[in-house]
């Protein structure tokens, strides 16, 4: 798998989105599905910069994909601190405005809009794979 390397800063998000939109379109997804994939990837990369690296321009983000007949898989690698998804609170989406936190929304959106999400952590890299099924 070929990986595209992007500097780990928020300015990269636009370029990462353009890349993802192009490859998701080539995979045959409709416009709304492409938007959901764009969102999941944007949230994942924002989390990497904020949590894994703890700031901008600390390390790179590597993005690759596989396009198979039944599913499209995006792989996102970083070399920051392992990120424990279970440490992120599940947002309360029905609380009143005054109590609304909006934290944890990114991870929630990734889970809602992708079909499979898997985090793998090793000594020097974190690997996130996100799968979108085709033909739904």
């Amino acid at each position: 798998m070929d990986f595209r390397v992007f500097p780990g800063n928020y300015k990269s998000l636009k370029f990462i989105s353009n890349y993802i939109k192009t490859v998701a379109k080539e995979a045959g997804f409709d416009e709304f599905t492409i938007y959901t994939i764009e969102t999941a990837v944007d949230e994942a990369c924002s989390n990497i910069i904020e949590h894994a690296y703890g700031g901008e321009d600390i390390g790179d983000i590597e993005i690759g994909y596989t396009d198979e007949p039944k599913q499209f898989t995006i792989i996102i690698k970083d070399h920051g601190h392992p990120f424990d998804p279970s440490s992120i609170p599940i947002p309360n989406l029905s609380s009143k405005l005054a109590e609304r936190k909006a934290n944890g929304l990114g991870l929630y959106m990734m889970h809602q809009w992708m079909d499979e999400i898997n985090f793998q952590f090793s000594e020097n890299s974190n690997i996130l794979s996100m799968v979108k099924y085709k033909g739904n």
């Binding site: 800063n9 928020y10 300015k11 998000l13 636009k14 989105s17 416009e31 709304f32 938007y35 959901t36 764009e38 969102t39 944007d42 949230e43 924002s46 910069i49 904020e50 947002p91 989406l93 029905s94 405005l97 005054a98 609304r100 909006a102 934290n103 929304l105 990114g106 929630y108 959106m109 809602q112 809009w113």
Partner: protein
């Protein structure tokens, strides 16, 4: 992202073009804060040309709505919301928190 603010006597319309992500959302928050600091609490956010909103952008909406509604002094309302953006607002459970209008005229008329 480009931000344009149109001021009226009793309200302001904020037009945004482009992406609202972790890179651009701080600037949008600053624009909203400037309006609020200047005493404008009735704000219409025209989202017609917003192409993307991430959770960072959604946080700006919540923060701004809380400030506008303080002491019942005003409200942040949305207008011309594209379908993809509406789906994101719905997924995040934001629909009960924001009035959504088809046009700016309807939105301003609400105030």
């Amino acid at each position: 992202m480009e931000v344009e603010v149109v001021n009226f006597k009793r309200s302001s319309i904020v037009n945004v073009k482009g992406r609202i992500d972790s890179s651009t959302s701080p600037e949008l928050l600053r624009k909203f804060n400037t309006l609020i600091d200047d005493g404008t609490y009735r704000i219409v956010f025209n989202m017609n040309e917003v192409t993307f909103i991430s959770s960072a952008g959604l946080r700006v909406l919540i923060t701004t709505q809380k400030k506008c509604k303080r002491h019942n002094r005003g409200e942040l309302v949305l207008s011309s919301v594209p379908e993809n953006i509406l789906a994101a607002l719905d997924l995040a459970g934001f629909l009960p928190l924001f009035k959504i209008y088809t046009t700016d005229i309807e939105a301003v008329g609400n105030f």
